[in-house]
């Protein structure tokens, strides 16, 4: 009997045969892949599987434990909903890129050694860039190039770290790393780049909004969450992560205030959310790790839903910026409703899923008596609520800023709506029955989110955030600008570099 079939295998095989299958067969194939992979994951017994000897090393392709099972299962559910959302896409290159990308991300989650983990990590980077390039615009070509250069840098840091760690006798097992030494430090830097931790975060907000409308859904889930998984696995309880995570939680929501492009607002929002997870990982207690895992799982669901909402709006109207949208609740009522569910879920409005996940990290910070962390996280939570409010209002409720639009706007095609409905249902079900979520945690935990104290606390800061939103509505009017971020350094720096290279080449020619 076969004891382990790598879930990646379904995705890679599917990508290989996809070009030869057309029509409904293609849709059937696309949807069956995550289902088969999920069944494989759920039927796998915990332990070490898929051991392959290579160059004198034992590579492990199937380390199955509660952490990898949870991430693997949530990845597959999200992949299914995202593929449903993308079914109308005719270009099979986009599906192939998505399949290779998701297959590699899930492969990385089940990898038990550093080399096989690195292999999947890199395939994920190189396959995901096509989801940006396939948009086919000049801006997306350039953004994709910057994206891959940043990820090559991150990959090199990770590989350098692995080689130094293994070379100094650390072994190839991918478990909790020592917190000192050059090897683990380089590996941590590689992970932090992919987790979009400031100041090495700008690639995310630069590249994701330039991806295809369906590609951005996959991108918003798999790269940063694989990095979060890697940090949980390799660096739990690393104190610097508490500081970096708390800064991220605030940085992301501050930057999102001025953003006009809707996808870019979600990108900064995503950075803020990842900050919560990284804080939990840095705290490193059972509550901290469970909080990080809980947020990762739920964020995968509602962030993908929110990205789908904006992609649907762009698909139907052509608009990507708040300044060119508005008043769509009448013409896109289902999209509006599902977007509201996602927005309320991410903000943690009870009884949706964000409420039962967010308070765990805050409680973990209280447990270790770090008051400043709590204050920064709640500041971030106010922003996590402010921005969905802003987008719900600017895109769906406020005045239509494109009244002279020639096309008749309706809800998107059925497959796109169903992709969103699946995720919105999960937001409600996991919120009402948090035990389903808590059962997937790596550490055993007794936690009751629906206490009167928690509810009054959440209603207070959320209620007053909404009040400020109403008072400052005019100040939040979208403006047709972009905001400079740390990508300025390499976007302008590369021009200086090229100027220097040309000068040197000229001088060489003269001499």
């Amino acid at each position: 009997m076969i004891e382990w079939v790598s879930p990646s295998l379904f995705f890679y095989l599917g990508a290989a045969i996809l070009p030869f299958i057309k029509g409904k067969g293609r849709s059937g194939l696309l949807l069956s892949i995550p289902v088969l992979a999920l069944l494989t994951i759920l039927s796998a017994s915990q332990g070490i599987h898929g051991v392959v000897s290579f160059a004198g090393q034992e590579l492990i392709f199937g380390r199955v434990d509660k952490l990898s099972l949870g991430f693997g299962a949530v990845f597959m559910v999200s992949a299914f909903a995202s593929l449903v959302f993308a079914l109308h896409v005719k270009d099979c290159r986009e599906h192939i890129s998505a399949l290779l990308y998701v297959g590699s991300a899930v492969g990385a989650v089940f990898a038990g050694d550093l080399f096989s983990f690195f292999l999947f990590w890199e395939i994920a980077s190189f396959s995901s860039v096509f989801l940006i390039w396939l948009r086919g615009e000049e801006a997306s070509n350039a953004a994709g190039m910057r994206y891959i250069l940043v990820h090559i840098t991150g990959g090199l840091l990770l590989f350098g770290g692995i080689v130094i760690h293994v070379g100094s006798g650390g072994g190839i097992a991918f478990d909790a790393m020592p917190q000192m030494g050059l090897g683990p430090t380089l590996m941590l830097m590689g992970f932090l780049i992919n987790a979009a931790v400031p100041p090495v975060h700008a690639w995310l907000a630069d590249a994701y909004p330039e991806a295809t409308l369906t590609g951005v859904i996959f991108l918003s889930v798999f790269t940063t969450k694989t990095a979060i998984y890697a940090l949980i696995r390799g660096f739990p309880g690393t104190p610097i992560l508490i500081v970096l995570g708390a800064v991220m939680a605030v940085y992301g929501v501050m930057y999102a205030v001025n953003e006009n492009n809707c996808q870019r607002v979600w990108c900064y929002h995503l950075i803020s959310q990842n900050g919560y997870m990284i804080t939990g990982i840095g705290i490193g207690t059972a509550l901290g790790i469970n909080g990080a895992v809980s947020l990762a799982f739920t964020n995968i669901v509602y962030k993908a839903l929110l990205m789908m909402g904006i992609s649907s709006v762009t698909h139907m109207t052509g608009g990507r910026k708040q300044s060119e949208l508005g008043g769509l609740y009448k013409s896109m009522p289902w999209t509006f409703l599902l977007f509201v569910v996602g927005g309320f879920a991410i903000a943690g409005v009870p009884p949706l899923v964000g409420f039962v996940s967010k308070s765990i990290v805050v409680s973990a910070a209280a447990e270790i008596h770090q008051g400043w962390v709590i204050l920064m996280l709640v500041f971030g939570a106010c922003g996590t609520w402010l921005h969905p409010l802003k987008l719900i209002y600017m895109v769906f409720l406020g005045e239509d800023r494109a009244k002279d639009r020639k096309i008749k706007v309706t809800d998107p095609p059925a497959n796109m709506l169903w992709g969103m409905r699946i995720l919105a249902t999960l937001c409600i079900v996991f919120g009402l029955f948090p035990g389903l979520l808590y059962g997937m945690f790596p550490e055993p935990m007794e936690y009751h989110p629906y206490t009167l104290g928690h509810l009054v606390e959440a209603f207070q800061y959320m209620g007053f955030t909404l009040l400020v939103f109403m008072l400052f509505l005019k100040k939040l009017t979208p403006e047709n600008y972009i905001s400079l971020d740390t990508d300025y350094i390499y976007r302008k720096g590369s021009l200086v570099f090229m100027w220097l290279v040309k000068r040197l080449a000229f001088l060489r020619h003269v001499t």
Binding site: M254, P333, V378, L386, Q460, F464, V468, F472, I482
Partner: protein, 85 residues
């Protein structure tokens, strides 16, 4: 009635919108008052003893977030859309 008509009915009803706004202000008041009577499970920090603390903190945080981001943006970070072209 389909979903679009349902939203249109309430979205374009000014009386309903005004009532909803009033209801929200009452809700805010009730939430702050209730904090005086709610037992908090863990009292770790100074603010856990101040009723209405999270209301004030939520209000101030959001004001700071908007005002500070807009100020830094207008003074320094916000550039025209073709800045990098």
């Amino acid at each position: 009635m389909n979903l679009g008509d349902f939203f249109r009915k309430y979205g374009e009803d000014d009386i309903f919108c005004k009532k909803a706004k009033k209801g929200f202000y009452v809700f805010l008041g009730l939430v702050v008052i209730s904090d005086f009577f709610v037992h908090h499970d863990h009292v770790n920090f100074l603010w856990d003893k101040i009723p209405g603390w999270w209301s004030a903190y939520g209000f101030i945080s959001t004001v700071v977030m908007i005002v500070l981001s807009k100020a830094i943006g207008h003074a320094w970070l916000m550039k025209s859309e073709d800045y990098y072209d």
